[in-house]
């Protein structure tokens, strides 16, 4: 009986170690739950909320006409200022967004700087596997290939997410996501020329209303003080986004070689609200990088 119980316990513990190994293997496996949370899991229904990756957000703003400006990103000198795990997690998200931003605009040197800052933050959180020497080498080799870079950077962030979740630090994972989302929105809003604002860019900023709601739901899953603080800040931002009226409508599918989804809900924004979003986003972001 004793032997059986010891065997069972030992087997269980070994299997748990397997989980950790998987994170280390993540360099190859590249897999975690990613940017999502199970909001509700009752008897037969799960709801996953997703938040766009910084790479996705940067691409959207770039396509809408946002211009690159090196002064918008978090200065690399700041990297040594972050001493708490919460600040390191938030700024790992921030530097990840800056890395995506620089890479999408083909800023090779800046991309390397922000990769190093991201690595420093990941190392400080003891997630050295996220930016291992092999990963850094892959990044250097693929710096000019946007799609490959998107995959590699996403891989690194999945490794962070997996490591933190499997070590009971989901709260830090949520802070990385929040830091990345806020920085991505900040970079988009900073690109607005207030004299002659770009309608396409303002529309893309208004569209972030959807992901903000998902992000607030995600942050609501954690009792952690730092997460709750960020959630409070995001709720202030939501109050401004709520001024953007959503007119619900049915979507439709137009058949073709590839079907096209049109119609659906529309967001009615005004310029003043977008500027207000930009100002509040800057305040929240500057607090994070302080």
């Amino acid at each position: 009986m004793k032997k059986s119980l010891l065997y069972l316990t030992a087997t269980t513990l070994l299997m748990a170690c397997g989980g950790d190994v998987d994170v280390e293997e993540g360099q190859e496996n590249n897999l975690t739950h990613g940017e999502l949370t199970v909001k509700r899991a009752d008897k037969a229904q799960k709801v996953f909320q997703t938040v766009p990756s910084p790479y996705e957000t940067a691409t959207i703003f770039e396509e809408a006409g946002a211009a690159y400006n090196t002064e918008f990103t978090n200065p690399i000198e700041n990297v040594d200022k972050y001493s708490t795990a919460a600040k390191q997690a938030l700024n790992l998200g921030v530097y990840g967004a800056d890395l995506s931003y620089a890479n999408i605009y083909d800023q090779t040197q800046e991309s390397m700087f922000y990769m190093n800052c991201s690595k420093k933050m990941a190392d400080a959180l003891e997630i050295s596997a996220a930016f291992s020497p092999e990963t850094v080498e892959r990044i250097e080799e693929n710096m000019n290939n946007r799609d490959s870079m998107m995959n590699i950077v996403n891989d690194s962030y999945w490794i962070c997410d997996a490591y933190l979740k499997e070590n009971g630090q989901d709260n830090l994972s949520a802070l990385i996501i929040a830091g990345g989302w806020i920085e991505g929105l900040y970079l988009g809003t900073k690109s607005i020329n207030r004299e002659t604002p770009n309608e396409g860019l303002m529309q893309r900023i208004a569209d972030q209303k959807y992901s903000l709601n998902n992000l607030i739901d995600l942050m609501g899953s954690y009792d952690d003080e730092e997460v709750q603080h960020i959630k409070t800040e995001l709720e202030k931002l939501k109050k401004v986004f709520d001024k953007i009226e959503e007119q619900e409508g049915e979507a439709s599918v137009e058949e073709g070689d590839v079907p096209t989804i049109g119609g659906g809900s529309t967001l009615k924004y005004d310029q003043a609200t977008v500027f207000e979003i930009a100002d509040l986003t800057e305040t929240i972001r500057n607090e994070i990088i302080k």
């Binding site: 009986m1 004793k2 119980l5 010891l6 069972l8 316990t9 269980t12 513990l13 299997m15 748990a16 397997g18 989980g19 998987d22 496996n29 590249n30 897999l31 975690t32 739950h33 990613g34 940017e35 999502l36 199970v38 037969a44 229904q45 799960k46 709801v47 996953f48 909320q49 997703t50 766009p52 990756s53 790479y55 996705e56 959207i60 396509e63 799609d147 998107m150 995959n151 996403n154 962030y157 999945w158 997996a162 499997e166 529309q203 569209d207 959807y210 992901s211 998902n214 619900e248 409508g249 049915e250 979507a251 599918v253 590839v258 096209t260 989804i261 049109g262 119609g263 659906g264 809900s265």
Partner: protein, 151 residues
């Protein structure tokens, strides 16, 4: 000796569910990497990995923003143990825009977005067959909901 056995048993009962959950999760990740990611090509994975172990009869909603001007592939990939998982794409009013076929393994749908929309991907795991139910073994398995994008 009996007291030691009881202690070990208690520890096992307390820690086993957590450890088994981690193990199942790790297996699910490995499965997704090996079997699901390649099927997204030539679309680029959007970076969000939505995968979990599901039981028969369960369903899940994934809420996601799809951006105007982009072309997407939604792929639902699952282990054979859970059977043919079906998925639907719904708009915010829960109108069905697409429904995969019942008998399709790892179904996918390619589409373009004319406007930015929040859509819901709803996956349904088939109920366990009666013959299997009699064995009392729950045939759960990994299900991954993947989205790829191209400009």
């Amino acid at each position: 000796m009996r007291s030691l056995n009881r202690t070990i048993l208690r520890i096992f009962i307390l820690v086993a569910p957590v450890f088994f959950a981690f193990h199942a999760d790790a297996q699910c990740k490995r499965f997704t990497k090996k079997n699901c990611l390649p099927a997204l090509a030539p679309y680029i994975h959007n970076g969000k990995l939505t995968s979990a172990v599901f039981n028969p009869g369960e369903s899940a909603d994934v809420e996601m923003t799809f951006n105007a001007g982009k072309q997407y592939r939604v792929l639902v990939c699952s282990q054979e143990t859970v059977g043919n998982v079906q998925f639907k794409v719904l708009d915010k009013t829960r109108k069905i825009l697409f429904e995969s076929k019942e008998d399709q393994m790892n179904p996918s749908w390619d589409f373009k977005m004319a406007t930015t929309q929040q859509l819901i991907i709803q996956v349904s795991i088939p109920q366990m067959e009666e013959s299997v139910q009699k064995t009392n073994l729950v045939q759960n398995g990994c299900v991954a909901i993947m989205v790829g994008v191209k400009n």
